[in-house]
Symmetry: C2
Subunit: 441 residues, 2 copies
């Protein structure tokens, strides 16, 4: 038995982690794979870049053809990230009959179905466990261990950066900017944090999870997303007072033949399993018709956890090569189902208003909500400060914060209510609108 | 492509759940398996038993040979439970070239290595995802998704009956007998609860998990076990006061080439991930050198969750049959490693003493502990009642409860300390000794 020959594409943090793990665990991997696993070539952008953590003696190249056209290379590991040129390189590798393992969530969310189709045509494997949830086994369990289930829901905390920030905001009362600065200092946030804080990264991962869970094409553009920039310390205080925590939750459901897919901040009851997932950890909750409920937790990022997932895929492919078996099966993903418009979502809501506390203001607010069939679950009214009114006149008005939670209502009705509330004369500002999850398990 | 023909052994709660799931999901299973999955025969003890939940028209038999010798049957599902005659039937089925799926934890814990050896000789698959953690994917992730990791620890809540009882004792202050009665009323405990409350069931499951995690033979008899019968409401009160919860935890570690495997009540810090696993839910925590930490949670028992696990195994085997591929690989389990004697365990301890509160009693106690290098982490002393002393004399003595937690100490030293403490004249009773886990994640 010859060795399993790997072409690596990308040598950043994850790539370096994968290479070091392959070298460090050569014997164990050979045992599991049934043949030694060896790195033949590594595609990099710059041959001269300093790479203190990378072992000497690797064969580096800047030309992807050196990997794609190398007949000896059986497996390509892509850890460059981004849609281009990763798509073109992976497509070329699959067409050249190579098996591919990728950690690329953006690529799989945007072009997964096309790539799986190319893999299928060329009888190649295409695996991507590392694209969601870092080291947490989640794609394997979805496709294999829970395969007998009809899955109906995925709820997940799948962005470690924002979960770290929200955990810090909840525990220490710091504001968004301070939390972001801390996340940057710890290396959890990039200089441009938009993909994380605006929910884009989570939307990529949710599109992948939803596609596999429901076996239907869900693209990143199908996922509604709202980030965490608008959250204030006041929201965390009220959440705490009401028995909730605030998390950026990615939710996908299959309801009546339609797909609901959304990433946004959520008030989760303290007793909700995801409420206890703190810091940079990730967790994915699944609902299935046989298993009922299962949850997977672990490190959502990092070089070694991601290497754990990449190497699991490499081992599965290597075992098939070593035993002469067909490559690991590709997931079958059916055509797209209709996406449920956000306007039709039904859930609870938290609404924070800043008002001039004049007689009758609560009556005006409750009339607006009542007219739209939005019923109140709780109301907190806090006088916050005396302030000059906006006209600069002498009358001091009492500024108050009113916080409302609603029973389950329709998103369109609540949005219309917020629109009408913001037009009420005593309402200074709708401070925030956050969806509330009432289910505890 | 012909159909996949199944022989079922056992038609209790789990067997009925499996059969109903196979019939209910015929189309989806055929899709996943690549061929229709059909139940050819079902082995039962009594043909005439009433089975209101079992669909009509099944071919029942009381003769295992009807399944083992049926050339058409490719896969045997064993859900009878117990070591005998399950061992003999499964061995015969494997020798007849059939693939076997079993949910039998006792059998796999006691005879797993022998059965895997027989399966290997006959190139058959032997899968047992349902033997641990009900519907929670755990064996799949251990063998596949985390295969690149060197695993060093498994910590698990894997007995739903006791976890339900402990949750109730913690939340409502009820005693052991009341909790057991409740568990029986809800169908969580059997009329003879010994296997659950004495830790035997958890020890079976831990032996399986440890064997797979460390790839070394760990038998149920290697697992130290101590049950929950001695836990009192007082222990739960003190745990709460000290910031702990009490759980029956199954722990296996690989330390310096030896295996540590134990099931016993543990004081877990409130912040420990397993501390939040309540009711009949199960959870398995793993530590690996790449992934660092991962946890899997879900329903630990029940007909449908167990059917989820059984059918995942059936599908994996069926796909290999349908595609002509070799059957799913058997786990490789190496020879046994030495078992670390309990006496050498190093952990924290909680000791509850009932004493006559005379001057100098604390000094006596601390001297005993100090002599054995057991250092105190906390002491609570509560005067509980005035009581007549044991001699029936007139002097009223102050009865007090002293609760000590220790820093990490050696089990042998703590046991010796408890022995010496119980011999002290003012010590009425050592109420309980419970190990304390200090790690929070």
């Amino acid at each position: 038995m010859g060795s399993i020959s790997i072409g690596m594409m990308g040598l950043g943090v994850v790539g370096t982690g994968v290479i070091n793990a392959i070298l460090e665990k050569a014997d164990a991997l050979a045992d599991h794979a049934g043949a030694p696993v060896q790195i033949a070539k590594v595609l990099v952008r710059d041959l001269r870049a300093k790479r203190p953590d990378v072992p000497k003696g690797l064969s580096l190249t800047t030309n992807p053809a050196d990997i794609v056209n190398d007949q000896g290379i059986q497996v390509v590991i892509e850890v460059m990230g981004g849609e281009h040129p990763a798509y073109e390189y992976i497509a070329a590798a699959l067409r050249a009959g190579k098996h591919v393992v990728t950690a690329n969530k953006e690529l799989m969310a945007k072009r997964g179905p096309e790539l799986l189709h190319i893999a299928s045509e060329h009888e190649s494997a295409l695996r991507f466990e590392a694209s969601v949830g870092g080291g947490i086994p989640i794609i394997g369990p979805l496709l294999e261990d829970l395969a007998a289930n009809g899955l109906s829901a995925v709820n997940a905390i799948i962005n470690g950066t924002t979960n770290y920030m929200l955990t810090r905001m909840a525990s220490d009362g710091i504001d968004y900017d301070t939390a972001l600065r801390e996340a940057r200092e710890r290396g959890y946030a990039e200089s441009d944090p938009a993909d994380d804080v605006d929910g884009t990264d989570a939307a990529f991962k949710l599109a992948i999870l939803a596609s596999l869970a429901f076996r239907t094409e869900v693209r990143d553009t199908d996922v509604f997303r709202e980030g965490i920039r608008r959250l204030t310390p006041a929201d965390f205080d009220y959440a705490h007072e009401l028995g909730y925590v605030i998390k950026l939750v990615a939710t996908a459901r299959k309801v009546d033949g339609r797909i609901q897919a959304r990433v946004h901040p959520v008030f989760l009851p303290n007793t909700h399993p995801l409420a206890k997932v703190d810091g940079v950890y990730n967790a994915v909750e699944l609902e299935g018709d046989l298993v009922d409920w299962a949850m997977f937790q672990g490190p959502g990022a990092g070089a070694r956890p991601t290497a754990s997932a990449v190497l699991a895929d490499v081992l599965a492919i290597s075992r098939s090569i070593a035993t002469g078996a067909p490559p690991p099966a590709l997931p079958t993903i059916g055509p797209a189902l209709p996406i449920e418009p956000m306007a039709e979502l039904r859930t609870g809501y938290y609404i924070r208003l800043r008002v001039n506390d004049r007689p009758g203001v609560m009556a005006q607010i409750t009339t607006v909500l009542g007219d739209l069939n939005v019923s109140l679950a709780s109301v907190i009214q806090l006088a916050t400060a005396m302030h000059r009114d906006a006209t600069g006149g002498d009358e001091a008005a009492q500024a108050a914060e009113i916080v409302i939670t609603t029973h389950v209502a329709k998103e369109a009705d609540v949005q219309e209510a917020v629109h009408r509330l913001s037009a009420l004369e005593p309402v200074d500002e709708v401070g925030n609108l956050i969806r509330v999850e009432e289910r505890t398990k």
